[in-house]
Symmetry: C2
Subunit: 225 residues, 2 copies
DNA sequence: TTCAATTATTGCAGCCAATGCAAACTTGCA
DNA sequence: TGCAAGTTTGCATTGGCTGCAATAATTGAA
């Protein structure tokens, strides 16, 4: 059992287990047969729940496959980024935040080694990525379901920009707009890293490609200005 | 009748009319009642076609509302962009291509003044934009259905980059990757322009905001490098 | 341990999007 | 006019998704 599980009551633990069972069944079956050749009925059956219960846990077939969304790192990491100062390249900083966010999502709930779905979590994420690769619509859905993450990142960027450039901080609207622009550019880098990863056959760590994309972005910025 | 229509046979003209009728009915009804409170049956009825015919024209309810995708300008404009030379700021150039692409899409088939659905085309686009504004999922779908446009723009960028930087042109993979990165950044600017437009209440010309966003992007690039 | 409140699961009935198929109909062309 | 090609339609069917109400499990308190 992972650490998180122990502190929860039976009810919560069961909920979590069911949630995972459904995700696992969805991804597993979709990988075997292709996304639109699996029905919710089949998934539910494989996960030992009723089809109706499936929809108690997930809004749609897609969202069961897409998995949990990334989250920003904890407070200290954020503060370090915000306070890094105008000399530190902001893009690299954002890149690191994203690397952490993605890694944390990918291995959430898998800290210890031997729980029931221990290796499952690894496998789950591999299969998911393969699905994204073969099924670009799913990736698009994942991206477009990240509004919350986008907003969070924007808010952090606002703070950083306000520190770096007190002049900009005086115009709140301008500050917000700039933060949003940089956030969107960062997401562009993320998409870039991902397509690069996919075009390389979908093997190897995404994190290092993410760093490369941010580095290239930095370089492009230099070239273009 | 618009010029384009006259050169077509009856069959083609009817097809076009049906297509427009369906789009119009979809957007109109969705604006009145909200996207998911309209059924395909209702739309079809309003457009005087059978529900089955609706799906002969559009893959899904969404795609009837989303409308036609943008297309790159004609050859001469493209060539001018490709040949502009390394001194010309590339971002501004892309921005202009996008402005043209968006304007052309928005008023396609509406060149002359007095055809049956003349004012209709204007109204159609206004309603569509309002729908995008109130219904971000639709906008996300529009964006993610632009793969073709993305690829076209990438290809054009490849040519431009190859001209500007013969060294880069020698490494085809690197060239492709860089083109794609810049394309994605340009799309980020587009999204930025759009959210700005939406946050301003959804009035006024999108084109000028698009130019602003590209200009700000230019400035950000300078700041960051 | 028992009981009542809360919360989860399930089956059922039903809506709607979307697709395949084959029959009727329209248009283009000789 | 008549035939080939393309278009519209109805019908039947699959499958995603929701509301509702009954049943079952979990919890916390007595």
């Amino acid at each position: 059992m992972s650490v998180t599980d122990d502190e929860l009551g039976l009810r919560e633990r069961k909920r979590l287990a069911t949630r995972r069972a459904i995700q696992f069944a969805s991804v597993e079956l979709a990988s075997e047969r292709g996304f639109d050749r699996v029905t919710v009925d089949e998934i539910s059956h494989a996960a030992n729940v009723s089809p109706r219960t499936f929809f108690n846990y997930f809004r749609s077939k897609e969202s069961a496959i897409i998995g949990d969304l990334p989250e920003l790192p904890d407070g200290a990491t954020i503060e370090r980024f915000v306070d890094a100062g105008p000399e530190e390249p902001i893009l690299a900083g954002i890149g690191e935040l994203m690397v952490v966010a993605i890694d944390d999502t990918d291995f959430a709930g898998e800290e210890s080694g031997a729980e029931a779905d221990g290796r499952g979590a690894h496998r789950l994420h591999e299969l998911r990525r393969a699905l994204y690769k073969d099924n670009p619509q799913l990736f698009a859905m994942r991206i477009s379901s990240m509004h919350k993450f986008e907003d969070e990142l924007s808010a952090v960027l606002e703070r950083r920009l306000a520190r770096d450039d007190p002049e900009l901080a005086r115009n709140l609207e301008a500050l917000k707009q700039r933060a949003r622009l940089i956030m969107l550019v960062a997401f562009a880098a993320m998409r870039h890293a991902w397509t690069t990863w996919a075009s390389l056959g979908g093997v190897g760590p995404l994190a290092s490609l993410l760093r490369s994309s941010f580095a290239e972005l930095q370089e492009v910025a230099r070239t273009m200005s």
